[in-house]
């Protein structure tokens, strides 16, 4: 028992050469599908970034591409969201989940063709979907905009991946289920459940009235909470101890974190409807659940922090660790902000403002995307048996996106609170009575400077994405150099063993 427990805590601390060979064979077997998913995810990331820049510029310069119906703000913004959420994030999630599942189950990938077929279906479906959005076929249901004629193609892709995951899990040689596998298995089950229920209840056989809004936000928030978050947190649970070469601090905290997340995150989505025409009790339940999210978040944060303690100097060397730790810290921050923003009094002010946009990017970018970047820097050398060609580009990537993130989220958070106070709080007259609200156009004019900030920080982030894409393409195209033993680190670590 104790031996198995220790092993399950230290997925990699197996010095025996035999296991190294086995891991290497497993990595090699994931190569085709992992590179396919990652390559397409990076293409979507670049495309989504272009859409984002266009949408951001349009918000303070509305005449920019103003006569193009296909690129009108309402469409290009939606194309951005779907390209980064379903193109970049989901493709990257699939790649990371497949690689982690194979490694953690200690199973070489069987039926890799299934996965490659799934990747083709997913990306063809998404291309049709985003083309449809630009052409005017969006459903205008937030996070479910992909037109109904494209979604069945996505379902085929998903079914193939789900079936593959079950096969891998079932035939794996590992007897132990590491905590990352819990998260990935949860995510792989949760996503198709909520996606199919939302499709049926909103598009095929729509329920009536504002029950639709409840279904919508139950799905949209759970897409983040039950798909992206478990993949991201599961990846942190793997890579943090892996890169540091030491076990995770506490097994029991990781179990508590998993189940409290599974229980509370589910209910939190209703906080997008606070003050709206839906029953007050369900709003209250959503607020309570959002607040209870403090439990899994703090538990996970403590567990990760105590794992890191004593190893902070490794941040100087390992690109993977730097991205992963940036993501982990922001997971804690964005979740705490989310719990706070769901309070009725706070929501009264910041709901309907740029604060929400800041929060969405804080979670999806500063947490999830940064963790995925870190994972990509770790996985690709192992499946291609090549090293990253340019450490300078990795460094440029990290600093541009890190500074760009902090600038954008800072600007929109502060700007959103200012916008909310101007829009939703009545000023007090000198005699103590409530005055008139600020005229709406004044509110907009005051917000403009923050919207310009977003464009500047967005340009910085774009530079980082281009550096990342160049490095990735360069790596795939460069010939394999035999006998590399040195991983691409920011600088050489004196005493750090980086497991291969």
């Amino acid at each position: 028992m104790s031996a198995t427990l220790t092993e399950s805590l230290r997925p990699t601390a197996t010095p025996e050469l035999a296991k190294r060979v086995e891991l290497s064979a497993i990595d090699a077997s994931t190569r085709g599908p992992v590179l396919y998913f990652l390559g397409s995810s990076i293409l979507w990331l670049i495309l989504g970034t272009v859409f984002a820049l266009i949408a951001s510029i349009k918000m303070h310069a509305p005449e920019f591409l103003g006569d193009s119906e296909w690129l009108t703000w309402g469409r290009v913004r939606t194309a951005h969201l779907n390209a980064v959420a379903f193109g970049w994030s989901v493709n990257a999630s699939f790649a990371v989940a497949i690689w982690l599942m194979a490694r953690l189950a200690r199973a070489e990938v069987r039926h890799a063709g299934m996965l490659t077929l799934a990747a083709v279906f997913w990306n063809v479906g998404l291309t049709i979907g985003i083309f449809g959005i630009l052409a005017g076929d969006s459903t205008s249901i937030e996070w479910l905009e992909i037109p109904p004629y494209a979604t069945p193609i996505l379902f085929v892709a998903y079914a193939l991946i789900g079936a593959w995951a079950l096969i891998t899990f079932r035939f794996g040689r590992s007897q132990h289920i590491y905590v990352s596998q819990w998260y990935i298995l949860g995510a792989l089950f949760w996503f198709p459940s909520i996606y199919s229920v939302a499709q049926v209840m909103l598009l095929l056989e729509p329920t009536r009235g504002t029950v639709q809004s409840l279904v919508n936000w139950w799905f949209a928030h759970n897409f983040i909470g039950l798909w992206l978050t478990p993949i991201g947190v599961g990846a942190i649970y793997y890579f943090l101890p892996k890169v540091l070469g030491k076990p995770i601090h506490s097994y029991y905290l990781s179990i508590l974190g998993f189940w409290s997340l599974a229980l509370f995150y589910n209910w939190a989505g209703v906080h997008h409807l606070i003050g709206g025409p839906v029953p007050v009790w369900v709003q209250t339940a959503g607020i309570a659940a959002s607040f209870m999210m403090v439990v899994p978040v703090l538990v996970t944060a403590i567990n990760h922090h105590l794992t890191m303690v004593g190893s902070f100097s490794a941040l100087k060397y390992s690109p993977t660790l730097r991205f992963i730790v940036f993501g982990a810290v922001n997971y804690t921050l964005t979740s705490l902000v989310g719990s706070l923003a769901s309070m009725r009094s706070f929501s009264e002010v910041v709901h309907f403002t740029q604060h929400t946009v800041a929060h969405a990017h804080h979670g999806l970018y500063s947490f999830f995307t940064m963790v995925m970047f870190g994972a990509v820097y770790y996985i690709v050398p192992r499946v291609t048996l090549k090293e990253w060609p340019s450490v300078k580009l990795i460094s440029l990537h990290f600093w541009t996106v890190a500074i760009g993130n902090i600038a954008m989220i800072g600007a929109l958070t502060i700007g959103g609170i200012e916008q909310g106070i101007n829009m939703n709080v009545l000023p007090t007259n000198p005699d103590g009575t409530a005055g008139e609200p600020m005229a709406f156009l004044n509110v907009m004019a005051q917000t403009l400077k923050w919207l310009e900030w977003r464009t500047y920080s967005g340009i910085l982030i774009t530079v980082g994405h281009v550096a990342f894409a160049i490095n990735f393409a360069w790596m795939l195209w460069q010939p394999r150099k035999p006998g590399i033993t040195q991983p691409a680190l920011f600088r050489n670590a004196p005493d750090m063993e980086v497991a291969r």
Binding site: G136, T139, F352
Partner: protein, 246 residues
């Protein structure tokens, strides 16, 4: 030790739990809300949208209007919607029962549109929308105390108009007389609103909720307790309110 079945059960039950609570319970509770017949008016409210407005709602969908404009009025005392004149009352679930797709919205880059048909009505409202869609920045603007003038950041929707040569009689639907000198078409041409533009404006003119239904007047706006009438036990509504709650 294989805990997989237990983990799968837990994974299944957590999502089933929230679906039951948030979705199923509310679906059973109020998805079958019915219109209320008003004896004085001789009609049932809310009324469904007329056909051209329904087509306009499709344009609203395809252009993604809901990403900047909400369609829900907050209740008095929560935000400033009532003071802004966005509605005479907060929105209630019954307002939305005819809508095959509900656009409550989560963003107010622009103002709430739930009752925009009350603010811009009739011929004048139609003309305003035409001018505004053609050139939002010039029609809506504000000069702040710093002396700078800021125009609306709503994008122009000139693609909802068409410039065409005048063949024979000028079209009765031509709109250039509403537009400023710089936007006039070349000689012999006229600017007309496309059918999609007409439909979208019909939708905006039709967006207006009726006065509060009697049912919601009782349920949502519970009158404050009056302590001078007897001593209500803490946590229970006084006699007068309890009656209407039933």
């Amino acid at each position: 030790m294989n805990r997989a079945p237990l983990i799968f059960l837990g994974i299944f039950f957590t999502v089933a739990f929230s679906w039951t609570g948030i979705v199923l319970t509310n679906h059973l509770m109020y998805a079958d809300l019915q219109p209320v017949f008003d004896e004085n008016e001789g009609r049932a409210f809310p009324q469904p949208l007329p056909g051209d407005a329904l087509r306009g709602k499709e344009v609203y969908r395809d252009l993604g209007c809901m990403y900047c404009h909400s369609q829900q009025v907050r209740h008095p005392g929560f935000g400033t919607d009532i003071q802004r004149g966005w509605g005479e009352r907060g929105s209630v679930a019954r307002d939305y029962i005819h809508e095959r797709r509900v656009y409550l919205g989560t963003m107010r880059t622009g103002p709430d549109l739930r009752n925009v048909g009350a603010r811009f009505a009739g011929e004048g409202g139609r003309n305003w929308h035409i001018q505004h869609f053609y050139n939002p920045t010039e029609v809506s603007n504000v000069t702040l105390s710093n002396g700078r003038t800021y125009g609306s950041i709503m994008p122009p929707y000139r693609f909802l108009f068409r410039t065409q040569p005048i063949i024979g009689e000028p079209s009765p639907r031509s709109v250039q007389h509403l537009l400023p000198a710089k936007d006039q078409p070349p000689v012999g041409h006229e600017i007309v609103l496309t059918q999609r533009g007409e439909d979208l404006i019909a939708y905006l003119l039709a967006l207006k909720d009726p006065p509060l239904y009697p049912e919601e007047a009782r349920r949502v706006y519970v009158p404050p307790a009056q302590p001078d009438r007897g001593e209500p036990r803490p946590g229970t509504a006084p006699e007068s309110t309890r009656e209407v709650l039933q």
